[in-house]
């Protein structure tokens, strides 16, 4: 079952390989047999057609997102002395700043399988784009300086690009430059600058002051804040410590006053601000309030950060052990189009993993089983950690008869190569065997069960395999060897296994066996 993902991904990879061939050799695939014409089966125009130095060629390269080729064409045009219109120059500047002078990533890069690393998510996803940030004197800077007159639009392109790729202090320098030149920044610049605030100020209060300053400037320019502004404010407030809580609530009230509906991203930031590490008893309320407010609402994705709402909130439920809230959150995913907001496969896995582990920890075995059967394997393939939680729940409830079915699931999911997990299963089986032994030795029963040879053999082997040698060897082996119908092969096997554990009674066993022979 775990191979279905591998197979479907290899098929996708094959399709991507074919697409690569088709796009790079379009001349073999242009003959059209189909009547009517099927556009999706024709090669996509990925390569440039115009080669001569002209504005149309530059426009084409910008349209195809070929960053290096576009910059080269622009340089050629400038050297040849042809005037390039302002619009196209601004487009080129936008392109270069957005991609930070690097080519855009290839489409359809395969998503790596990250099911087995549940703990590493936050550090990975908070990185800003690529690892290498904005370089000194790259093409965007160079083009910017070459421009004879600089408009608000050029500043905007550069500032937004810098913030996207991590050069926050340079972005603020450019902003002050812009103000000195008496140019007005537009709403997108302010949004980007708000996002960059945590990187340019050190203490929490300074950051909050800077955000307030930017917002007052916006107010003076009579600019209406958009949804993106508020979401960026909340995101920046995440790194402003405890002072941020009141500010965050204030922001939310402003949003309501302006009639902008908060998206899941805003709620995600809000909950992250309130649930930083330490959980106070008064903070549980806000999670309840948020959940009751957005229950039965169907959201559409408006902010890239929306995708982290569900897994982040489920994490909070897990840490505060809020089972009721977790059920409410799960119900929310079933409303309308909300399942689309579960995010990429990794986030989805995180969501279900946290939900199921919470249920395993808090509820009794029947409820756990009900949720397990409902979610696995239709929406979620469990990772090894979850199987361990499941086994622990089984242990706590002493429902050891479920162990074989869980073991079967583990085998089909491909978890039987994790040695620590297999040992846990062996422990559970050994507990089973001890139970049976207890049943056989039980007194006060109406009918005493007699040990049969086969039963003895199985129980002994299970206990030996789980390294529970003292229990195994005290009576069982001797009982077994005293049975008349014990076959030599079984006896040899048992003795070999016990030999592996350096039993002190080994010599005793050997002598009794020889005596039986």
């Amino acid at each position: 079952m775990a191979e279905t993902k591998l197979y479907s991904r290899s098929q996708e990879a094959g399709k991507a390989a074919a697409k690569y061939f088709v796009d790079n050799n379009p001349k073999y695939f242009t003959k059209d047999f189909a009547e009517p014409h099927i556009p999706c089966l024709m090669p996509a125009s990925v390569s440039m057609s115009l080669e001569e130095v002209s504005e149309e060629a530059l426009k084409e390269r910008i349209g195809l997102r070929k960053v290096a080729a576009a910059v080269e064409m622009y340089d050629q045009l400038v050297q040849a002395g042809t005037p390039v219109s302002k619009q196209i120059t601004y487009d080129l500047l936008d392109l270069v700043s957005f991609y930070d002078d690097r080519e855009p990533a290839q489409e359809g890069a395969p998503v790596t399988d990250q099911m087995d690393t549940p703990a590493k998510e936050p550090s990975r996803r908070r990185g800003r784009g690529q690892k290498v940030g904005w370089q000194e004197n790259n093409n965007a800077d160079r083009l910017f300086r070459l421009l004879p007159e600089r408009d608000g639009r050029c500043y905007a392109a550069l500032i937004r690009g810098m913030v996207k790729h991590g050069a926050s202090s340079k972005a603020f320098d450019l902003y002050t430059d812009m103000l000195n030149n008496r140019l007005t920044a537009d709403i997108h610049v302010y949004n980007a600058l708000i996002l960059a605030t945590p990187h340019v100020r050190e203490t929490h209060s300074e950051r909050i002051d800077l955000i307030k300053e930017l917002l007052t400037t916006m107010n003076q320019q009579k600019m209406q804040p958009t949804l993106q502004t508020f979401n960026n404010v909340l995101m920046a407030l995440r790194s402003c410590g405890g002072l941020a809580k009141s500010q965050a609530l204030y922001t939310l009230r402003e949003m309501k006053a302006l009639g902008i509906a908060p998206t899941p991203a805003s709620y995600n930031h809000l909950l992250a601000i309130f649930y930083r590490g330490v959980t106070g008893s008064n903070d549980i309320d806000i999670l309840d309030q948020v959940l009751s407010e957005i229950a039965r609402t169907s959201f559409t994705c408006q902010d890239p950060e929306d995708a982290w709402f569900f897994s982040g909130t489920m994490n909070i439920c897990l840490e505060t052990k809020g089972l009721k809230q977790a059920y409410q959150l799960y119900k929310l995913t079933e409303v309308g189009e909300n399942w689309r907001l579960l995010g990429d496969p990794f986030q989805e896995n995180m969501f279900y993993y946290r939900f199921l582990s919470l249920v395993c920890m808090m509820e009794n075995m029947d409820v756990v089983l009900k949720w397990y059967r409902q979610l696995v394997p239709s929406v979620y393939y469990p990772n090894p950690q979850l199987m361990r939680y499941l086994l622990q729940a089984v242990d706590m409830d002493s429902r050891l008869e479920l162990v074989p079915s869980i073991w079967k699931d583990m085998k089909s999911l491909g978890h039987d190569d994790k040695s620590w997990l297999v040992v846990e299963v062996q422990e559970s089986f050994a507990a089973c065997a001890l139970d049976i032994k207890g049943a056989f030795a039980g007194e006060g029963r109406k009918i005493n069960l007699e040990w049969s040879t086969a039963a003895l053999y199985y129980v002994t082997t299970i206990l030996m395999r789980a390294n529970k040698t003292p229990e195994a060897c005290d009576e069982l082996l001797k009982d077994f060897l005293s049975q008349r119908s014990a076959t030599p092969a079984m006896a040899v096997e048992l003795v070999q296994m016990s030999a592996g554990f350096f039993l002190a009674t080994l010599s005793e066993l050997q002598s009794s066996w020889e005596h039986n022979e």
Binding site: L6, Q11, E12, G14, A17, A18, K19
Partner: protein, 133 residues
Amino acid sequence: MQNYAARTRVAKGNKPVTYERAMNPHHIGHRKGWLSQHPCNLKGEEGAADRAMEDTFIRRFIFGTFHGCLANEVVIKRRGNMVTVCAMMLQKLPPQKFYFLTGYTESLLSHFYKCPFKLEIQTLPEKTVYKYV
């Protein structure tokens, strides 16, 4: 003059031969089926030659892409616009490589012939021998 078309000549008794190869061409319709099914050979239909060329191309393409894995001849069926290629393969490659090659073939042939292609493969551990000649 003897006929040599699509017949395997008798050897010393150690040459394994599949059912397809063992039957001669005059057994088509009696003991063998057709390897390529399309309506162009019916009365009043056109395009038989084009389909024959396409079939040859497809057979060579599959033979080369799944090199050394074909257990038997490729069967090509056409229904309306769709072309279904059915092949029996040996289990020489791991399954994910088969899936990769399947996705690649389907996509490439669809783009080439501008019609939907489906590749259905079954795998066998080894070639099924009908008799030894």
